[in-house]
């Protein structure tokens, strides 16, 4: 049943498994595994790594720290910036046989507007995912953890595009469901969660923070149960579809999220352990009968 096509924001997707933003780069993968990768991704839609208006180098290394049953990263959203991403990457990504979802983030409202206006209209892009894990530069609040701020942003973006708007919320919030409700009310077409959980690790030798960005984001199985609770809470409060992620490494994990109400499931960290993890997860998922 889950192998059957599924509708999501007006798109007809072949199955329920997509990638989590920032955890698969088809262009780099094609250098390692050959050009066929671009047209044979194990996902039913592809979500880009976060694109920002300006190019970003990302955080200084080290950027990785391994955890019990997971990892922590402080990548810092390196990307080419809007202009070069559209010029250089978009033409390659548009060769994929699956819909492309562009994940974008601004450090202020205007930057979000620039991104949404530039990408919302593009034929190669099927939907926009707003990464709202950034602080509002004026108020200091993390937009994604404050229902009001998040609603404001989504309302403003809603006026700028007819493209489906997916809002990716952060787990580092007192009440993620309240943020999702606010995003829905402001016109979001879907919610995606969870982003990484804030964490810290010290260098065993110097006893100072290990990661170049000081704190990092936890991902992988260590956050799976927390993700399921948040997805469950959000799905029970909003009517729009939900893309669920967080530690998915098996069909059972995906089935849990779908049973809690998710429409799509995104695979993140598990891609690192196996570039074809999504294919295995989809196959395992198909053998599990979901709650009707």
């Amino acid at each position: 049943m889950t192998g059957n096509p599924v509708r999501f924001c007006g798109l007809q997707l072949e199955h329920r498994i997509i990638n989590a933003s920032g955890t698969f780069d088809p262009i780099a993968a094609s250098r390692a595994f050959g050009n066929d990768v671009i047209t044979s991704l194990p996902f039913s839609a592809f979500v880009s790594k976060t694109v920002t208006v300006e190019p970003r180098q990302g955080n200084p290394p080290p950027r990785l720290w391994e955890l019990p049953s997971g990892m922590m990263n402080s990548i810092g959203l390196p990307n080419k910036g809007l202009v070069r991403w559209v010029e250089e990457d978009l033409p390659i990504l548009s060769r994929m046989k699956i819909p492309l979802i562009a994940n974008v983030m601004g450090f202020e409202r205007d930057q979000f507007s620039t991104l949404v206006e530039a990408l919302g209209g593009k034929a190669e892009i099927s939907a926009l995912e707003l990464n709202v894990s950034c602080p509002n530069v004026e108020t200091g609040t993390i937009i994604g953890s404050d229902p009001f701020e998040c609603g404001q942003l989504v309302s403003a973006m809603r006026l700028l595009t007819d493209s489906p708007l997916i809002v990716k919320i952060t787990p580092n919030a007192s009440d993620p469901a309240a943020v999702a409700i606010s995003a829905e009310a402001a016109g979001a077409d879907a919610i995606s969660l969870i982003n990484t959980v804030r964490g810290l690790a010290l260098d065993p030798v110097s006893r100072r923070p290990w990661l170049g960005g000081r704190t990092g984001g936890i991902s992988g199985p260590a956050i799976r149960a927390a993700s399921l609770a948040q997805v469950d809470a959000v799905c029970s409060q909003v009517k729009i579809p939900v893309i669920a992620m967080g530690g998915v490494s098996s069909g059972k994990d995906a089935a849990d999220l779908i049973d809690c109400g998710a429409t799509l499931v995104a695979v993140g960290t598990e891609n690192f352990r196996d570039p074809m993890a999504a294919e295995r997860i989809r196959t395992e998922l198909e053998s599990i009968s979901l709650v009707p």
């Binding site: 698969f24 990302g58 950027r63 170049g212 690192f272 352990r273």
Partner: protein, 276 residues
């Protein structure tokens, strides 16, 4: 960015491959697999390795991610040797495999060493576990009918046992317990001084950051070509995570797809992992 673009293409995905042999060489462990799905790989490339069972349990939930390991030998028909230096839970678990256990393998990955130009005499320099890709390169040059020199540096005689596996290595040790007492840089200077002045050389090196930085400085001062194989923690090995970046003159680049081999001239200095 990569010294070479004719890189072998790895199968897309992870596969289970049984371990054929396990052998201790001094403090190192050599494990061999036969991976029939693998293309002929280039020295300096690496695989992401994990064990199929008991990955994660030895030390409080780690290792979780696969580990990047260069091959020390490959026969072009799927047989790969990996040399392990145990420094933490991942390398410990890998070194603890038994014949018949399955490894989970992705690769070969990365760019590998470029073929040194015919006019230059390759000098291969390996420090510690960095000897692995260097010895793979030695084999590759031998197969190509090229002449070359190998300098290997080790902490002590026990680590230097590895060198006795191969003929004609110039060995130095930190404690002088075998080979010449000194660093690979000392040996490099002696070697270059012994060459005819007209003989131009190219350096190909792998080892700890301090050694690579010394090689880089030397090459830069002497105006020599040098390829440096860097080691940096990796989560994915195929460009997906942006976790393995190293600072280069053109900014942060991913060591797994744009490296791990870099031209010394691309770098301002060799990045040592750990908090800045």
């Amino acid at each position: 960015m990569s010294p070479t673009s004719d890189r072998p293409i790895a199968p897309f995905g992870r596969r289970a491959v049984p371990v054929d042999s396990v052998r201790r060489i001094g403090p190192y462990t050599l494990i061999e697999i036969t991976d029939l799905a693998a293309p002929t790989a280039k020295a300096g490339q690496f695989h992401m390795l994990a064990t199929e069972s008991n990955w994660g349990g030895t030390s409080g939930g780690r290792p979780f991610l696969a580990r990047a390991i260069s091959f020390i030998s490959s026969n072009g028909e799927g047989r790969f040797g990996f040399l392990l230096h145990t420094v933490g839970p991942g390398t410990e678990r890998l070194a603890d495999v038994n014949v018949g256990d399955n490894l989970l393998v992705v690769g070969p990955l990365g760019n590998g060493f470029s073929d040194p130009s015919e006019q230059l005499r390759p000098i291969l320099i390996g420090g510690g576990i960095g000897a692995a890709p260097v010895l793979a390169m030695a084999d590759q040059l031998t197969a190509a009918g090229r002449d070359y020199e190998v300098i290997l540096g080790f902490r002590d005689a026990s680590h230097a046992e590895l060198a006795s596996e191969r003929p004609n290595c110039r060995v130095v040790t930190d404690d002088g317990s075998t080979g010449r007492h000194g660093t690979v840089l000392d040996e490099l200077q002696i070697l270059i001084d012994s060459l005819e002045p007209s003989q131009q050389v190219e350096l190909l090196a792998c080892g700890p950051p301090g050694m690579l930085e010394a090689v880089r400085t030397f090459a830069s001062a002497e105006g020599l070509e040098a390829q440096l194989a860097l080691e940096t923690p990796m989560a994915c090995g195929y460009g997906a995570c942006f976790g393995c970046v190293v600072p280069t003159k053109s900014g942060y680049v991913r060591a797994c797809v744009d490296g791990p081999v870099f031209m010394a001239s691309q770098l301002d200095r060799v990045f040592a992992d750990g908090p800045l």
